[in-house]
Amino acid sequence: MRALFIVISLLVAGSANAGYLGGFSFNSLLEEEVRGNAYDFDSRTRLFGGYHRENKEKFLLTYVYNQASTTTGSLNIEDTSHELLFWYYKQIFRNSNQTWFVFLGGGLGLTWSDIDTRLGSSSVEETSEKEAVLAAAMEFTRPIIANRFWYATEISLRYAETYSMQPALEFSVLKFYFLWD
């Protein structure tokens, strides 16, 4: 964590024409179901903040919090997953009017879960080990208000070292950036 912040700080400190950005996105993670060979969508909200250089490069720190609950008879499992990723986005295309930009991104970070298992009066709460996540994304960005508000859609592929969610496609149809100097 500390290392990620140091990296971001150094990048910001050494840049000219820099701007900050923050925002959120509503995502759907396409995952294989437990029964195998079948897929379902898991809705997740992603929060992010970071820094951009002339709309050519972006450095983002993203956080996802997601809860899932399953029950069979007297057994209930509440699984709360957390995911913290550092992303680097590079602009690879823009149209002549500069109304559309395409970014290619790569992300690296950590994921972990808090699992609360209950069987009648017996309950166990555990936190998993933090495990690595790798992601790659393609983002289509459209400035709505120049240097203030962008709208984007994104498709990403993520691979977690954990025993779940690997590899998985994630779609973000609604992604909003708020920018300031």
Binding site: E32, E33, V34, R35, G36, N37, A38, E57, A68, T70, T71, T72, G73, S74, L75, N76, I77, D79, Y88, K90, L104, G106, L108, S113, I115, T117, L119, G120, S122, S123, V124, E126, T127, S128, E129, E131, A132, L134, A136, Y159, E161, T162, Y163, S164, M165
Partner: protein, 428 residues
């Protein structure tokens, strides 16, 4: 500009290489998983349970079983997808399922591993094929009706399945007794049923001889079906009792109307008080014999089978009394399991000899109790006083037994063998 692209590519490639270097760990023998597990007294709580034979954590595949979720079973075809279990690693060798389906997959696997170990200790490692094919959360429909909250063993496919669970008690796939019960059906199939002459039982009616299907032969066929089912179900309950050490296991998972209270191994019970129900069973049996349509043995077979299992257990505890007193819990379990397996060999021999004549209730008791043993006669008189044919031999051998309370005569129609074994008649 070129440098910029180079660095952006590098920022993606380097982390990828790092992650690839951290390849997923294979399961280690003794890794522990948080599962609903019974304690010494049969109360269920969440415990970290070691599993030794797993080869793939996500597929839940190992030497003991290939697990699946809701496999497709139609007639003779069985098709299962590899599951994708969700586990969280808590620390080295310690894992927690992230959903209840994964818990079901792992709980059934863990119990099957222990049941296999029991067979290995009995020298029966080659009796039933491993890895077992097992499905959980199966959407079972029988004659169009949903059949939730149950377990099934399909002999022809050698597959065990647990249907979806819709009650608010302990799921059938978490119930150690129910898992042992279903597992025993595989033992019974491979040790007893598989090699029996199918023309006398309903295991495979497709190849049945037309002659056998004639009315009289059909009676034999249906009678055999009833008693085979009864022995299979009753002894499966006994296997569950030995595995769990619990007198009752169904009440933890089933609602009151489906939890058969008679399936209770509590020692010292007399089966005499179930005489009326037993009579009802025989009436159902007679009714069954008069039916021309395909017969489904149903609950009466369970009742009769449990009756037999209870009698066998009473005899077993008496025979092993001294050894059990000197044994640990685990070695005691082994002694009792060995006793039941030896009984299965005797049962198979009897079935092979008698199937062609049609089974009846008097075939089985002499395999358990000796009519010229006064102690045995006393026990049967006390706990199963309506086994009249057996007791009539006892009274002949030990006239003083009759001095006490005379058991009530049960006026039901039973099929009796005649000496040449070729003909049967109905009698009172």
């Amino acid at each position: 500009m070129k440098n910029s692209y180079f660095y952006s590519l590098l920022s993606i490639i380097l982390p990828s290489l790092l992650l690839l270097a951290c390849s997923r760990e294979d399961p280690a023998a003794g890794d522990r998983y948080l599962l609903p597990w019974p304690d010494e007294k049969g109360a269920y709580s969440l415990q970290y349970v070691p599993i030794h034979s797993l080869k793939d954590r996500q597929k839940v595949h190992g030497d003991v079983a290939h697990m699946s979720v809701n496999p497709s079973i139609r007639g003779d075809s069985y098709r299962a997808e590899d599951p994708k279990a969700r586990l969280a690693k808590i620390s080295e060798g310690k894992y927690v399922p992230e959903d209840t389906t994964t818990t079901a997959l792992y709980t059934v696997y863990a119990h099957t591993e222990r049941l296999q170990e029991l067979e290995r200790q009995l020298g029966l490692q080659d009796l039933i094929p491993y890895p077992r094919k097992i499905g959980v959360e199966v959407n079972v429909r029988i004659d169009g009706e949903k059949e939730d909250n149950n377990g099934f063993y399909l002999g022809e496919l050698d597959v065990t399945i647990y249907s979806r669970y819709s009650l608010n008690k302990l799921s059938t796939a978490f119930n150690a007794g129910l898992i042992a019960h279903e597992h025993f059906h595989a033992i019974f199939w491979h040790l007893v049923s598989k090699d029996l002459d199918t023309q006398f039982i309903a295991l495979d009616t497709r190849n049945m001889d037309e002659e056998v299907l004639q009315k009289k032969a059909l009676k034999i066929h249906r009678s055999n079906l009833f008693y085979l089912r009864a022995y299979n179900e009753g002894l499966a309950d006994l296997w569950a009792n030995i595995y769990t050490g619990q007198d009752r296991f169904l009440n933890k998972s089933l609602s009151k109307n489906k939890d058969n209270p008679f399936r209770d191994f509590h020692p010292g019970r007399s089966l005499y008080k179930y005489q009326n129900k037993k009579m009802k069973a025989y009436k159902a049996h007679d009714l069954m014999l008069s039916k021309k349509e395909k017969y489904q043995p149903g609950a009466e077979a369970y009742r009769h089978g449990f009756h037999i299992a209870y009698l066998l257990r009473s005899k077993m505890l008496r025979d092993l009394n001294v050894k059990l007193a000197a044994s640990s819990k685990e070695s005691g379990k082994l002694l009792m399991a060995e006793y039941v397996i030896n009984f299965l060999y005797k049962l198979r021999k009897m079935l092979k000899e008698n199937l062609q004549y049609g089974l009846d209730e008097n075939d089985i008791l002499p395999l358990i109790y000796e009519q010229d043993n006064k102690e045995d006669c006393k026990v049967v008189k006390n706990i199963a006083p309506d086994y009249l044919q057996f007791l009539s031999h006892c009274y002949r051998n030990f006239p003083d037994l009759e001095e006490n309370e005379e058991p009530q005569e049960v006026k039901v129609k039973l099929i009796h063998k005649v000496n040449d074994g070729q003909d049967k008649k109905e009698g009172i």
